[in-house]
């Protein structure tokens, strides 16, 4: 391990432990690390957007390929910054309307065509007689679950009578799903901790062993 690698590992370890120190109690090391982290993350965007968007998507095609019209999205982008002015913040609405309009156009189609229809179709198709008794039970769970969940989230009518009964079934299904979510969330959070512990033991621990060997 070279001196540079050694120092790099110790820098990572220092900031990792500084952040973990918050678990004991709030302290200046944690605060410093947290603020540096926020600053670096914001600065990372600047470098990325400068090269990936401004240079690669605008400047290069404009000057090397003659795509002069790319000046327009550039102007729309710059107009966004008018939000910082009290008098001229309305100008940013032009850019916002352009982005929102395009996104709405994509969503109107994709949400219905790519989500609602295939999901409804799959629910109906689950009642396939060739799947046998176990398949029928599963199809029943899915159909009852989908309908009762949709009814639970339907707030335009008070949940009373038959509607209330179905919504109650919906709650049970939702609780099962949220329980599964919780189980998976625990797994996700532990995985992230394992990643940091792997670094501290393998890399940082390795560097300490090397220091004393």
């Amino acid at each position: 391990m070279s001196l540079v690698e050694f120092l790099q590992i110790w820098i990572i370890a220092f900031f990792t432990l500084s952040l973990f120190s918050f678990l004991y109690k709030d302290n200046p090391f944690y605060k410093l690390a947290e603020h540096i982290f926020a600053g670096l993350s914001a600065g990372y965007y600047v470098g990325l957007i400068w090269e990936s968007v401004i240079l690669q998507q605008m400047i290069d095609p404009m000057f090397n390929n003659g795509k002069w019209w790319l000046v327009f999205p550039g102007i729309l982008g710059v107009l966004m910054f008018s939000r910082f002015s009290k008098n001229y913040s309305w100008i940013s609405r032009i850019s916002l309307a352009f982005v929102m309009g395009t996104t709405a156009g994509i969503f109107l189609v994709s949400e219905l065509h790519g989500k609602v229809l295939p999901q409804i179709q799959a629910t109906m198709k689950s009642l396939d007689p060739s799947q046998g008794f176990a398949g029928f039970i599963l199809a029943l769970i899915i159909i009852v679950g989908v309908i009762s969940t949709l009814i639970y989230f339907y707030f335009s009518k008070e949940h009373k009578g038959a509607l209330g009964g179905v919504a109650k079934v919906g709650i049970w299904f939702i609780m099962i799903s949220f329980g599964a979510h919780f189980g998976y969330t625990v797994m996700a959070r532990i995985s992230l901790l394992i990643g940091r512990v792997q670094f501290l033991i393998d890399d940082w621990g390795g560097s300490i062993v090397q220091l004393f060997s």
Binding site: F15, L19, G77, F153
Partner: protein, 203 residues
Amino acid sequence: MVVSFFFRAEGSFLGRIEPEILSWVTIVGGFTLLLGVVSIVRVNYTAVKRKADGWGYKLATLISVFVIAIPAMLPTGWSDQFGRGDGSIYKWLFNYLDAPMMATMFAMLAFYIASAAFRAFRARNAEATLLLITAIIVMLWRVPMGEEFLLSIHPDIPGWINTYIMGGANLAVQRGIIIGAALGAAAMALRIMLGIERTYMGK
């Protein structure tokens, strides 16, 4: 975008204009991210100027923004340490400071979720009990040691959990949520297109 979905004619005017408009949206999207950065810089600069509480930390944030951003924007022709490539200051700061710190921030959630599980995850009523039992079953099933344990009880249990809990009840609920949310998003898109919905403009 809606019309081009139904008449996707390659080579036609519409076929050419659609990707062009989309590339414009990606460019404007880039500027939107910069807007966020400018906002962070303004807030922190004001706090430092006024010597508000913790202004020293905010100064560290400001310095960090410029330390990573400025070298990234300078031409690589001047030095290998500029730009975003291998050996650049930008990449070094990301790999050895920003990425590990981001990972650590989220790793801390493991401690909080364990604490919450012990202190707040209670079977107070039938619904909460159902949630708790499912969570325990799934937690057990999703790790090799737990799966081995379930297999030792009955070899089909892991399969049943995957089929009837995850691929049955859970799938049904997620499907209901996806259908509901997608209908909502499509309705919102239509409202925006018809000019009924203007809250995104601050109206």
